[in-house]
Symmetry: C2
Subunit: 410 residues, 2 copies
């Protein structure tokens, strides 16, 4: 029934090894024929002849019908994946940045060459969100998708809220444990969450959006006062990517820290776990929870994709092919909390409406309505000004701004 | 790409109407050709010629290639579904009792006639658990599946815990709102949850189990003292179906009320919502949450199945076809809380080990280890004795009993 897969694996880091661990416990109709690695000097647990440093040994081998790409280099990953797809090989990838950045090209390549690219492992590790968006919600009107998509930043936030650590100590612990990179910007800056959001939005809304167009503000400027503010109100702060359909023509995407209350499922998603909330017209609220990263959880998602390739499964991008008139826009009004040092920043951001303003010694904040476009324009000023911003509302509060502003914004 | 579906619909109750509502907002390649109903006198919102009381008008119509079965009569449902599958029609059904009862036959019929029966709507309404077990966890070792599978009983429990209502008042409210039937035994007695559990276990473990062999104890005997006990310990009581792999040869299934603590996701699943917890070897803990019942949530699951039939999707029962040596057993040790009136019941149940014993006026309970088989044998005595039983442990505490007892139990 299923076809035999001869796999060429690129990368043998934590996910590659996790995948190998899982595969060896199974009796599946597949074989890892060759593993391409960067560093031939590194000690390996497997026979030496399995490894190569020459990618062509996989890409030019006609017996290899499946490529599993698990490397960290975005450009190299794109080259490998596009060459594989173009030469009739199906591909499983977990490179979120690469996929989000080149999604248009990757869809086109699959279409042109009749090959399949699957990437469940790229979005929220073990949570089968892409498969569900593609297969299960394919006829659903989705009001919004949001969640906790990045385990490293969530780990740091949990350390802050549960264990009382400040941002820098929590980051240090996360780095020591391997939950965060030496340069943590991808994680704590919301980039990683943004790439995952963009991939999810392609399947949810049929829109392919350039990552450069989507705001991501992270948790780097989180301070003790922000933690205290949240605690006093029985809230937690989470780094939350949001994709929301504003009306039948507009969809908005952004990544911001968000105040989350006890009644929200995300409130209980702690440490390296991920959670995805889907608000659908008919299915109503749905929530998926699981481990967002790590060799075995991500490895299991990758294996699930590999197994699906045995049955020639391919994403159909049904919503993208459908009648969607949805356009991406940043001309959106949202309610934010801004803790700032310099009053000039408040002026610069041009709040449409300020609901709360607090000033006491070194703690100053405003809560008010702002156009997302203004945040994008002044993201550097916010970052450099050591200001902390958080989304301070429910998703229902995210609305399309007036037509006039919209025209100015596009 | 997709084939046109001409649908014959059986039943036009809340789910059938929900389905109709959803379909009319879409431009799908499908048409509801005929709707078979029981009562021709009932006022309908659709043209009269769409309806029939003669099932043959659908089953004998060669132009109808798809049957959607949403009726309440188990035997009639089985007859309709088996006739449809035998005559080349694919079927979507939401009849959990019928599916759980006749699963072996239904698998055989699909196999023999090359037809497909899908039933996502039968298990936890909008939560795509069957599809995920079948497609996504198909190569995963699943330690356990549990959750809240029945919205009516959960509604009653939430009324008790959140609003302080006693069991009878909560049941009355649930009935008034249409969340529970006039005879609520199916829901509050754990039968409905059991059927769903059996269906899920078939996809998770490849075992097809007779519902008669599986213990279900419900919440009918829940009393004020039990609520108080749970509250004092910061626990909630939920009606929880459990399927657990005990070792590589044995799987156990049961439905019992369970004490749930704050750190468990099920703790926050309230009212008519459902939640499913999957513990997998590699993917680790996963949780799915969504509306468990209602016309639109269940209708959306049914529609998702219908949409999948356009692409000739069929369950492959991969685990059942695989190498599984798993056998169902009730020879299992579990820890339970028993609130009782008559001391004789404690003797009868033959606890292997009693950890706690409490006696004060009219409130008496024991907590101890017991063999599941003993609970099954004395389920009537428990029910009639107004005793309340709850599973008082984590799933890790469910273990295979000794070999000697096992032999005696089968």
């Amino acid at each position: 029934m299923s076809k035999k897969l001869n796999i060429g694996l690129f990368g043998f880091g934590v996910v590659g090894q996790g995948l190998y661990d899982i595969i060896k416990t199974k009796n599946l109709n597949l074989e890892i024929v060759k593993i391409a690695i960067k560093n031939p000097e590194k000690e390996r647990t497997l026979p030496k002849e399995l490894f190569t440093t020459d990618r062509d040994e996989i890409l030019n081998n006609p017996e290899i019908n499946t490529v599993v790409e698990l490397i960290n280099d975005t450009d190299a990953a794109f080259e490998i994946v596009s060459r594989a797809l173009s030469s009739g090989k199906n591909v499983v990838s977990a490179s979120k940045k690469m996929i989000a950045t080149y999604l248009d090209e990757l869809i086109e390549l699959q279409h042109k060459h009749g090959t399949s690219l699957l990437y469940e492992g790229a979005v929220c590790g073990s949570i089968p969100i892409i498969r569900n968006l593609e297969e299960y919600y394919d006829n659903e009107l989705l009001h919004s998708i949001s969640g906790i998509f990045n385990g490293s930043s969530n780990y740091i936030l949990s350390k802050g809220f549960i264990e009382g650590l400040d941002y820098n100590s929590a980051l240090k612990q996360a780095q020591d444990l391997g939950f965060a990179e030496t340069d943590p910007t991808m994680d704590v800056g919301g980039y990683d969450a943004k790439y995952k959001l963009i991939i999810a939005a392609a399947h949810a809304y049929g829109v392919v959006i350039d990552p450069e167009d989507v705001l991501n503000i992270g948790i780097q400027n989180l301070g003790a006062k922000d933690l205290q503010y949240a605690r006093e109100k029985n809230l937690k702060i989470k780094l939350v990517p949001v994709a929301k359909e504003l009306d039948d023509r507009h969809v908005s995407l952004f990544v911001l820290p968000k105040f989350v209350n006890e009644s929200e499922f995300l409130y209980n998603v702690e440490y390296e776990y991920n959670g995805v909330t889907v608000q659908a017209a008919f299915a109503d609220q749905q929530f998926f929870f699981g481990k967002g990263a790590g060799g075995h959880p991500t490895g299991s998602a990758v294996l699930s994709d590999i197994a699906a390739l045995r049955y020639n499964y391919a994403y159909e991008y049904k919503k993208a092919k459908g009648l969607t008139n949805l356009q991406f826009t940043n001309n959106v009004e949202i309610n934010i909390y801004l803790r700032y040092e310099d009053e000039a920043l408040v002026e610069l951001l041009e709040f449409d409406h300020i609901q709360e303003r607090f000033y006491s010694g070194d703690y100053k904040f405003v809560i008010g309505k702002i156009n997302l476009q203004n945040l994008i324009e002044h993201a550097d000023a916010i970052a450099n000004g050591k200001a902390f911003i958080a989304f301070a509302d429910q998703l229902t509060g995210v609305t399309l701004a007036s037509a006039k502003k919209y025209e100015a914004a596009i």
